[in-house]
Symmetry: C2
């Protein structure tokens, strides 16, 4: 099948690679062409504009950075929806605003095109191994058409409802992560202050009623002082910001999420926006007067 | 072995039962005698005072409700340490103040007695099945003496350091639970407002980087409107209060824990102190103007 792909960052390049490996013909656009080189070398066609991608493809996938990029890529002057061609289904896999997903779906529908919102979780490793969780909103029949392609990229694929439902589900995921991250970092900070061996604490509290992915996977990195990104602080701030805005739009107060969002803004202010989300620990340490001179 | 046991609530009765089943001779005290009936029927000896328990036993275990009860049972006029007899090791399995554990250890040491703090996690089910996690602080040799008895009650038994280290580890556990609980409840509240099927959301976000025990075990109870206690709100408030006090004593600011503690005080104020900790959802719903007329 002729498939369009816009956004070939770490995630996008790996995901598109699975479609290419399965024999699909890719039409690609990315802001930085060099990041698409490997796919191009393996036979993908380069396009100069998003509109050129949709003019050549039956289904177009997108995974870019921020909602503003999604808006530009879909609704901009030379965006996907300005292209005339065989394209019948659009799939945005960026984590983006549910309300924007609904707007794109309406605009697409006016041209007889279906649009799905299908954000993922599982990070660069999930993208590379084809084991992502994919949460999908939009037309059910369009979802079923795309399902075999989703199955090349992910392991858990869930249809969640109409346009925006995929993005809303991803917001639920990120709200939960906000809680597990603050719990993980405050717990390990307390452990350090109490003079406990932090890894021994993780070994025991990571098994019972307190257990979570964050303590078991990011906890050991914090213990080692490893703040390399699995998932970027600045992307998590974007996601929490979307969730808070969407919640505010329906007068929903989420005090825990709001607090964690504020603390991550402090992480960013302290220069760690491109670190992994476990860098929340650094902001909590600074808050508590530790400016890195020792390593509790 | 002649073993003393003080505190035969749901947890204590089940745990003492494992020692009795292994052939140990129990000397029991509890504020409410009726709760010890089953152990007494199976051959345990009733004592009128904590001092009588320690006067008859080689090792005394305690698991009561609040730090004030621990203080009374150990240091009160007719407390354990006032009893003269063969008792050589004391083990408090209540979740209590690390600083109190240290004080009891010092008082016991003056009489040549070892004292361990050994709080547990795993709840009533873990107590019944003998699968508790037990976090132990105090003298290492005393720990090794008691270890075979701990193994009758628990599955994961960890020596964490000197007096108070067991309690500090339990605090780390509860700080983490505070995070997973606020994440779980806010996530499901958002899901409801967004019109998503909450169980479908749990099914997908409970598997990846957001996954935690709370969403997978308490999430479905929230979806069913089941607020029966696995772990009581009022006990969790006690635990968080201890953690906040201990943290404040070393000038440690834990903003996430402080917020969740406040929200649980609201849960209690709304009459749910004897509900399970998943009742945090009820306070968040009330905060958002839902007084139970509908069930998002």
């Amino acid at each position: 099948m002729k498939i369009g792909w816009i956004g070939t960052g770490v995630m996008g390049a790996a995901m598109a690679g699975h479609l290419q490996a399965a024999g699909h013909e890719l039409y690609i656009f990315n802001r930085t062409r060099s990041k698409a080189e490997r796919l191009l070398r393996d036979g993908a066609h380069w396009c100069e504009l998003p509109a050129e991608v949709s003019a050549n493809s039956e289904i177009v996938f997108t995974i870019v950075a921020f909602p503003a990029d999604v808006e530009e890529v879909y609704l901009g002057e030379t965006g996907i929806l300005s292209g005339k061609g065989p394209c019948k289904i659009l799939v945005d896999m960026t984590t983006s605003r549910p309300s924007l997903a609904q707007r794109i779906a309406r605009s697409a529908a006016e041209q007889g095109i279906y649009s799905l919102d299908a954000p993922v979780s599982g990070g660069d490793i999930g993208a590379r191994d084809g084991t992502l969780a994919i949460m999908v909103g939009g037309d059910k029949a369009a979802f079923e058409t795309v399902l075999p392609l989703f199955q090349l990229m992910g392991k858990t694929i869930s249809y969640m409802g109409g346009a925006g439902a995929g993005q809303h589900t991803k917001m639920c995921n990120q709200i939960l992560v906000a809680g597990t991250m603050i719990g993980t970092c405050e717990s390990l900070l307390y452990a350090a202050k109490a003079g406990l061996d932090k890894q021994s604490v993780i070994n025991i509290i990571g098994k019972g009623a307190a257990s979570c992915w964050s303590i078991n996977n990011l906890g050991p990195r914090i213990v080692r002082g490893d703040y390399e990104p699995g998932f970027l602080v600045e992307h998590f701030i974007k996601d929490m910001g979307i969730a808070l805005q969407e919640a505010a739009a329906v007068s929903l107060s989420l005090p825990g999420l709001a607090l964690v969002h504020q603390l991550y803004l402090a992480v960013q202010a302290q220069g760690h926006g491109r670190s992994g989300t476990q860098a929340l620990m650094l902001a909590l340490k600074t808050l508590n007067g530790d400016n890195g001179s020792n390593n509790p």
